[in-house]
Symmetry: C2
Subunit: 385 residues, 2 copies
Amino acid sequence: MNEMRHDWLSDRWVIFAPNRTTRPDDYDRTPHIEPESQLRCPFCQGSEHETPNATLILPGKDWESTRSTRRRDRAIAKSDWLVRVVPNKFPAVGFGPSPVAWTESTRENPSLNADSPSSAFTPLFVKQSAVGAHEVVIESPQHVASITDLSPEHARLVFEAYRQRLAYWSARPEMKYAVVFKNYGADAGATIVHSHSQLIATSFVPSEILRVQRRLALYHKSHQQCYICSVLDQELQAEDRIVTQSEHFVAICPFASRFPYSVSIIPRTHQSRFEDASQDELADLARITQATLNAIESEHPRCAYNFVLQTCHFDQQASDSFHWRLKIIPRLSKVAGFEWSSDCFINTVFPESAAQTLRQRIQSTVPLASPVAVAPASNSIRNPQ
Amino acid sequence: MNEMRHDWLSDRWVIFAPNRTTRPDDYDRTPHIEPESQLRCPFCQGSEHETPNATLILPGKDWESTRSTRRRDRAIAKSDWLVRVVPNKFPAVGFGPSPVAWTESTRENPSLNADSPSSAFTPLFVKQSAVGAHEVVIESPQHVASITDLSPEHARLVFEAYRQRLAYWSARPEMKYAVVFKNYGADAGATIVHSHSQLIATSFVPSEILRVQRRLALYHKSHQQCYICSVLDQELQAEDRIVTQSEHFVAICPFASRFPYSVSIIPRTHQSRFEDASQDELADLARITQATLNAIESEHPRCAYNFVLQTCHFDQQASDSFHWRLKIIPRLSKVAGFEWSSDCFINTVFPESAAQTLRQRIQSTVPLASPVAVAPASNSIRNPQ
């Protein structure tokens, strides 16, 4: 008999059906890979002219002066940059003219940042300019495919880039939120192989973020405690869904996760805004993220995944109810008709089982020492490494 | 400047970003196909012993006697069955013992069929047996891959099977809802190539259905009119999102659809329950669905898609506010990190543009005449056709 579990935060039920892993499968599921004939990579060192001007370069001058005593990788000394943030050449959102005119049927503009429009009006065809900013975080000057190929110190710089860009956009009054995310592999929506992540700042708080914030506030009101802190306390006692722990973070397979092998990396102590993380915390986050991704990649070679940073919206300086976290979503299964219709997901792997597997992988893994270049593009000739 | 559109029914904003279709792409996007060495297909005629006993066979005895004057395809006369419904051997839900015990932290069971649990209680780790039924609708005795390969009369039988099984499950008091859906192609979650669809009946109304019902009731209360009827009226006036029309149905690319080339097929007159559709309406639905899918398949060869039937929940005999429809979701794009985090989708094709393309495809398509067998499995030797 299969089991349903309730994710209180999203108010969704998830069906766990491990019996469905034994289904016959007519299809070849080899992950899509880049063709060998790939001519040039716009993200490699030497191709900087192919992307817009950088909005952030790490290590930069400030970093050099303030952190000169820190141990560095040899790679840091050799490169002009290790992490480079640029505006996306194909942005989903952008700056532009004021909102387009409403269509005839529009009687009122539903607020982008409010709860559902009231019943007093119901515009059928409402549209609006997509105002925001879309940036790409290029994670290495070398043609590496995965953040797990970077040294721990280099990976820390990736999270430092997120922090600095989030801090920048959160100070812009026209911006209300920013989603930081990574698409790794074709099945996760990536189109470029070179390791990168993205930031989309928006002039509105997306509906899912609003929903989650409402639920967290509801919990805090009735329990005088943060929901995520409560869950974390109980997970640490139960132990069976814990993947790994570090000084500042705990990686768990959530009780009612929608996707097999999904992992949430949660700060041990309450913190609502990712931008407030210290340098030590970022270094620790980089290490635990790499360890978790390494475990997933060694269990499911070349598996596509997304990761998303869930942080507090910009209008709140600090929140007692919101607790930021990093969510890793391996794309091992396909979202199908049942899920699209019902929003009730079928997960074939219990989180206790996924956590046990990943724990074993982590215990048997030798930490990576230095950046590894993979699948060199032909323009790598211009990138002596 | 890109555009955002508000889907009032789901209360979601969708970003339309046609500029993103010109992005470079490192990956080979050839759809996954079945390996040529496929040994046997459990859904082909002659392999009936590999599936559980049928819960419905069409044409059956009743059908023979009551509909003997109807024009038939030659194939109908030759086969024992044309559509066969069987319990899924790998069910997501099932009948079984009463709900499992709550975990220690559970203080109360959030109702499966109610709105969000109130703030008065907040169980952290709630689980429940997954009670329901999971059936497979095998759409042909021949090894055809797509419902568009069937004759129109044969395709009508597929929808008749949905109707009969929905009527059966809706009469079971322990069942509250059923999702009827099709996964076509590996990227849409299919594991078997042979043309089939599925029905999952559940002891609860899924959260997405509840949400939509609440919004439709809200609209009806303030406008004394069905939301879908209102939208349809305006779409018929505007014309630019209409794909095709038939006597009983209109196929449109919705104003704020999350997926490129998504199409909704909507009954012209208000009808809340799919089970109440007449035989004429089912025949018409089969024709317009095949025409729409043919257009999508000819524009995007071998493109994976889902379709889902959105009908009223079982407790309502008829509803003034709910209007059933069939939603086709081509899987041309990948859901990525931004969408998982925000529930705000990025669609690269405006529905007006998608509708125009599909209209042109439909105008240039010659209707299929008879079933076409494709990619015969090796056990087709046992299936003389």
